[in-house]
Symmetry: C2
Subunit: 382 residues, 2 copies
Amino acid sequence: MNNFSFQNPTKLIFGKGSIAKLATELPADAKIMMTYGGGSIRRNGVYDQVMAALKGRSVVEFGGIEPNPQYETLMRAITLARQEGVTFLLAVGGGSVIDGTKFIATALKYNGDPWEFMVDPSKAVDAMPLATVLTLPATGSEMNNGAVVSRKEFNEKLAFHNPKGFPQFSILDPEVCYSLPKQQVINGIVDSFAHTLEQYLTFNTQSMVMDRWAEGLLQTLVELGPKLVERHDQYDEVANFMLTATMALNGFIAMGVPQDWATHMIGHELTALHGLDHGVTLAIVFPGVMSVMRREKFDKLVQYAERVWGATGTPEEKAQAAIDKTDAFFRSLGMKTRLSEHGVGQETIDFIVDRFRKRGWNLGETGKVTPERVAEILRERM
Amino acid sequence: MNNFSFQNPTKLIFGKGSIAKLATELPADAKIMMTYGGGSIRRNGVYDQVMAALKGRSVVEFGGIEPNPQYETLMRAITLARQEGVTFLLAVGGGSVIDGTKFIATALKYNGDPWEFMVDPSKAVDAMPLATVLTLPATGSEMNNGAVVSRKEFNEKLAFHNPKGFPQFSILDPEVCYSLPKQQVINGIVDSFAHTLEQYLTFNTQSMVMDRWAEGLLQTLVELGPKLVERHDQYDEVANFMLTATMALNGFIAMGVPQDWATHMIGHELTALHGLDHGVTLAIVFPGVMSVMRREKFDKLVQYAERVWGATGTPEEKAQAAIDKTDAFFRSLGMKTRLSEHGVGQETIDFIVDRFRKRGWNLGETGKVTPERVAEILRERM
């Protein structure tokens, strides 16, 4: 097992009716900026629940944070927060709203152009306190200190971590998910599944217990996937999905293990260039990474095939089953897992590979996903 | 899934060579009281490693905290800490030293006789900051806010939780476990196993993901048990054991599930009255609780038998296998799992049942472990 340091201070408040707890969890004297997205919270009742809990508080609203939150939008929020003397940020939404709010929180404690800490994340060291009300299980942002922000003028989508960026608390009420569009639920299943694989499907470091935990998340998603595609208004099913999505990226299963993240880095490019949903990009790329990196990941592919998919046969057959079963699982949810199905062609591959070369990026748990192998991965997924 | 609130602020610093990190983790201006046990840390090099990391610091030592830490001993530590103006407690040891140090930390911020918050734990609300260097994987105390303290004059062993009682950080270096006596390793395996069962083997609340995680801990212990009995100086095996023991009682697997703890409460009495090791009492009592509460726990017994022990057959056969396999696992580690093997007889059963009656205790996840059923459980384990 690798040496590690783990700490996660976020308070998780989970279950039906939990939004009302905002009233007691928020600091009494806070000047609150409530951030949200495109307005779905006004239609599904979440806005009203939040406002009822905030009654009597000093609140300024900032709506309109888009999927793949944009630098330009967030800069307007920062200006507003400064004008209003905001002291506490409350993100009400999914991963995009929460990620955007982490950017705002960091920028409000940063001297200089905020894009600087996107390019060099080591500069992100302080943040205004924030909390969240989660409306979409997927990214895990509600219980970690990372965020991804896009900048249209550069066609870029970059990630950063801020040690002070953990939400102070996050409220997860599974019932708010009942009104989600089905595609968002499917994206969330794939996102959680991919987050788990990124921390599991690497080389073997004998982290027996964390392997078991990662497999537990994958098994749960495999079991829930078809049910959630059918309907997502059954409390226990949605609650388990919501909790699994949070546990998939809050540092728990990362203890003592190497991490990959090549799929995410490649996927971010597909989103930046073609606007594909994050979950869709992961469903496209992951089977390709598994296939091209088969030798490096061989032992884990076999273990994953055995324990998550019940595969039998020779080790080579199991490794192949791992790849095939993963692709088939994503497709069974209704995902199109080939680039050509999304109208993405060779010129995009060339652009991404060229960009990674210029950035000097060698990705993956051992840095062996070179730009050449990225090309191979994407060609394999045409 | 049940509603829940979860927060665990402890920083976990894990891996070989980690004790040196004390130098940077402890607050610069702290007046430190280092607490420890019977002196094994002087023989195995831990004392020297800690002292090297504390060089130049203001440190007062308090050794001699015994297994099942005693009120009388801890009161002397409290007096010393007050005399010396201590501001930070560093526990170096196993669960007893850490639990005792939590009592000291709470007492130092409590006005009145500290035994009051043992009798009424709701009075434990503040604590002096503490941190730990763990030397014995077992209790999970290094990453939770609970503690158990004994008082000889009353023959009592009681538990309390303090919301401020989490260690600020805990250092876990698996290599310090190599010199442990074998019996302590065995006790630790059983303790971790029992902690997991207490949060898992209840009635079914459809907490799919937490069931998987608990099963992952149990599977890891089943796999490691025989290896650790053989030898406990293989890094990855000891590291996985150490991490599993911490994960078994840090609140992670408790999210959204009911909890039992009848076995622990009965076991505490056997320790208070006969001085049996905590782990030994759990190995005796747990199969009895499973057997007597078979109807209430039936669905979970079946699931546990299937997933952890690979049991087949009818549901009734699986439930029986769950009980038999658990007892056999404890015995395979070298545990004596019958009261008669420890010279404990009917008079002890009568005493415990009478005491629980007077306390008005109905234990277990549904309060159905009445004093009468405690009698039945203990008779079954004669």
